[in-house]
C-alpha cells in the first residue's frame, strides 16, 4: 500500500490544476501548423510574375488518386503566361480525390505546384471541390468556401491557422497574420 504515492498523486493533479490548458480553441484561435504541412496546393509564380507551371502534366501522371487534370497550350511569345514554351490553360485539382500526399510537388520539374497550408475546404457541392487555376494561384487567399463567405459578408478572409515560417518553396506565399 503506497499511501505516500497516493498523496504524491494528489500533488501532481494539484499542479496540473494550475497549469495552462493545452487545448487549442480552434475556430476561435488559429491552429499552429508545421511549415511542411500538406494543405491545399499553391501554384507559384516566378519573381517576374510568370507562372512556373509549364503544363507538362507530370503531376497528373504521378498523382495516385487521379485528382489532377492539366490542359496545356502554347505561350504567346509577346505575352507569355509562363516561363516555358507552353503553359497550363486548364489546371484543375479535385480536392475530394486528392489525398494530400505531395507527390505532385515532388514530380513537378519547375516547382510550380507546392503544398500550401489551407485545409478548411468543406463545401456543399461536388463541383465546388474542383479547384482551378483561379483558386490556387499564389496570390489567391483562402479556399473557395472561405472566399465565398468573405464576399458574402464583406469581411476579410479568415484563415484558421498560423505557421512559424513559410518554407521557401512557397515563393511569394503570404501566411495569415
Amino acid at each position: 500500500m503506497g499511501i505516500a504515492a497516493l498523496a504524491q498523486s494528489m500533488g501532481i493533479t494539484l499542479r496540473a490544476l494550475f497549469s495552462k490548458p493545452v487545448t487549442i480553441p480552434y475556430p476561435d484561435a488559429p491552429v499552429p501548423l508545421k511549415p511542411r504541412f500538406h494543405g491545399r496546393h499553391v501554384l507559384t509564380r516566378h519573381p517576374n510574375g510568370l507562372e512556373k507551371c509549364i503544363g507538362c502534366s507530370l503531376c497528373a501522371a504521378v498523382c495516385p488518386a487521379y485528382a489532377i487534370y492539366v490542359e496545356a497550350a502554347e505561350n504567346d511569345p509577346n505575352n507569355p503566361v509562363s516561363a516555358g514554351e507552353r503553359y497550363a490553360k486548364v489546371y484543375e485539382i479535385n480536392m475530394l480525390r486528392c489525398i494530400f500526399c505531395g507527390l505532385c510537388e515532388e514530380a513537378c520539374p519547375t516547382g510550380a505546384v507546392v503544398m500550401g497550408y489551407d485545409f478548411e475546404m468543406a463545401d456543399y457541392r461536388y463541383s465546388d471541390f474542383v479547384y482551378g487555376k483561379e483558386d490556387m494561384l499564389v496570390e489567391v487567399e483562402g479556399t473557395k468556401p472561405q472566399r465565398r463567405e468573405a464576399a458574402y459578408t464583406g469581411k476579410p478572409i479568415k484563415r484558421g491557422y498560423a505557421v512559424p515560417y513559410v518554407r521557401p518553396e512557397l515563393e511569394g506565399f503570404k501566411p495569415p497574420k
Binding site: A5, A7, M10, T13, A16, L17, P21, V22, T23, P25
Partner: protein, 417 residues
C-alpha cells in the same frame, strides 16, 4: 378564537416537529400532539410560513448548487487534465447547466416495457426527495442571523440520527431503480451499490458515535456550540474525521468508491435503463448527497458556521471574519473542492477492494476509536487526552506511510523534461 390560538400555540413552540412537518407531510399530525414535549429551546421560534420559505430556499439553493456543481466539477476536472472544459454556452460556460437541464428534460424518456412502471418512476423521486431532506438541519449562523429569523430550517434534537435515517432511505431509490428496471445489469448494479453503500454506512455511523458521545448530543447546533467552547472536534477526533471523510465520499458515490455508476468498465449500474430527466434526478440526488456531506463535515468537525477561534482574537479585522454565512460557505466550498480534487486524482477501487477497505480497515478503526473515546468519556478523563490520542494516531499513520513508501524509481534514461 381561543381554539385557533391554542392550535397555533401547539404548532409554534416546537420547531423540531415543524421541521418534520415540512420535511415529511404525513408527519404533520405529530405537530398537533407536540404541545406536551419540552423542547430544548436553542432557538426562538420561527413562524410556519418562515419555515416553509426557508425550506423552499434550501431546496432551490440545493438544486442551483447541484446545477453549478456539475459545471464547476467539469471545469476543474478539465483543468486537472490540462483541458479547458465546457466554455461554449454563455460567458465562461456559465449557462451550461441550463443547456444540460433543457437537454435532459427534452430527451426521449424511455420506460422499459417490462418494467414495473410505478416503481420505475418512483425510484428517482425517492432518491432525490430523501437527498434533499437532510440539508435543512445544518445551521448557517447564530440564531436570528437570517433577517431576524433562524438560519436553519429545522432544529432537531435527534439531528444526526435524522440525517442518517433519511440518507439511508435514499438507498431505497437506488435499489428499487435496479429492481424495477427488469434488467439484469441494472439489478446487479443496484445490488452492488446498495451493498457498498450499506457497508460504508456502518463505518460512517460508528465514526460519528465518538463525537456524539463526547459532545453528549445529536443536535447539530449543540455540536457547533460545544466546539465553540472546547475547540474544533477535529482536534480531538482526527481518526473519526478521517473515517467520516472517506465514508461520506463513499456515501455520495464519489470516485474512489463510485462503483454504483462505473460506466466505464461495468455496464452502468442501477441507472442503466434510465434516461432523460429520471437519470438526471439520480445524478441530482448524488450531488445533493455530496453537498450535504460537505456541509456536515465542517458542522461536525470544523466548528460549523463559526470561524476559527484564534481569528476572533485578531483585534481589528476579527469582526470581519464573523460574517455568519461566510465561514459555512467557505467550508462547504473547501470540501466540495476536495471531493472534486480526489475525483480528478484517483482511480476507482475494485469491488473486493472496496469491501475489504470498508469492513477490514475503516470499520475496525472506527470501532477502536469509538471504544477509546467511550473510555475517556466514561471515566471522565480530561478531553485533552483524546487530542493527544489523535496526535498519536497521526504520528502512527505518518510512520506507517513513510515505512510503506516505496523507494523512488531510478530516473529513466532519456526521459527528458
Amino acid at each position: 378564537m381561543s381554539q385557533a390560538q391554542d392550535l397555533r400555540k401547539g404548532w409554534a413552540p416546537n420547531p423540531r416537529y415543524l421541521g418534520l412537518a415540512v420535511g415529511a407531510l404525513p408527519m404533520a399530525g405529530l405537530a398537533m400532539a407536540a404541545e406536551a414535549t419540552p423542547a430544548a429551546q436553542l432557538s426562538a421560534t420561527d413562524p410556519l410560513w418562515m419555515v416553509g420559505l426557508k425550506a423552499f430556499l434550501v431546496i432551490f439553493g440545493l438544486l442551483t448548487a447541484f446545477a453549478y456543481m456539475t459545471l464547476i466539477e467539469r471545469r476543474l476536472l478539465a483543468r486537472i487534465q490540462i483541458r479547458q472544459g465546457p466554455n461554449r454556452v454563455g460567458p465562461l460556460g456559465l449557462l451550461q447547466p441550463l443547456a444540460d437541464a433543457i437537454k435532459s428534460i427534452f430527451k426521449e424518456d424511455l420506460v422499459v416495457s417490462r418494467a414495473d412502471k410505478v416503481v420505475f418512476i418512483l425510484a428517482p423521486m425517492i432518491s432525490v426527495t430523501f437527498a434533499v431532506l437532510t440539508f435543512g438541519l445544518i445551521p448557517f449562523g447564530p440564531k436570528d442571523a437570517f433577517f431576524g429569523y433562524d438560519p436553519w430550517v429545522i432544529n432537531l434534537d435527534v439531528g444526526l440520527l435524522y440525517v442518517f435515517a433519511v440518507s439511508e432511505i435514499a438507498i431505497y431509490g437506488i435499489f428499487l431503480a435496479g429492481w424495477a428496471s427488469n434488467s439484469k445489469y441494472a439489478l446487479l448494479g443496484s445490488l452492488r451499490s446498495s451493498a457498498s453503500l450499506i457497508s460504508y454506512e456502518l463505518a460512517l455511523g460508528i465514526s460519528l458515535l465518538a463525537p456524539v458521545l463526547l459532545v453528549g448530543s445529536l443536535n447539530l447546533q449543540e455540536i457547533v456550540e460545544w466546539q465553540h467552547q472546547n475547540g474544533w472536534l477535529i482536534l480531538y477526533m482526527l481518526p473519526a474525521f478521517a473515517i467520516f471523510l472517506l465514508t461520506s465520499m463513499a456515501e455520495a458515490a464519489r470516485t474512489p468508491f463510485d462503483l454504483p455508476e462505473a460506466e466505464q468498465e461495468l455496464v452502468g449500474g442501477y441507472n442503466t435503463e434510465y434516461s432523460s430527466i429520471k437519470w438526471a434526478l439520480f445524478q441530482m440526488a448524488e450531488y445533493i448527497h455530496l453537498i450535504t456531506a460537505s456541509a456536515l463535515i465542517p458542522t461536525i468537525f470544523l466548528g460549523g458556521w463559526r470561524m476559527p477561534g484564534f481569528m476572533e482574537q485578531i483585534p481589528l479585522i476579527g469582526g470581519l471574519f464573523a460574517l455568519p454565512y461566510l465561514w459555512m460557505f467557505a467550508k462547504i466550498a473547501l470540501f466540495l473542492f476536495f471531493f472534486i480534487w480526489v475525483r480528478g486524482t484517483f482511480f476507482r477501487l475494485r469491488y473486493d477492494q472496496l469491501m475489504v477497505f470498508s469492513w477490514g480497515r475503516l470499520f475496525p478503526l472506527a470501532l477502536v476509536w469509538f471504544l477509546l473515546s467511550a473510555l475517556v468519556v466514561a471515566f471522565k478523563w480530561p478531553v485533552a487526552l483524546l487530542g493527544w490520542l489523535s496526535l498519536l494516531s497521526l504520528v502512527v499513520f505518518s510512520a506507517y506511510v513513510i515505512l510503506t513508501a516505496k523507494p523512488k524509481p531510478m530516473p529513466r534514461m532519456g526521459a527528458g523534461d
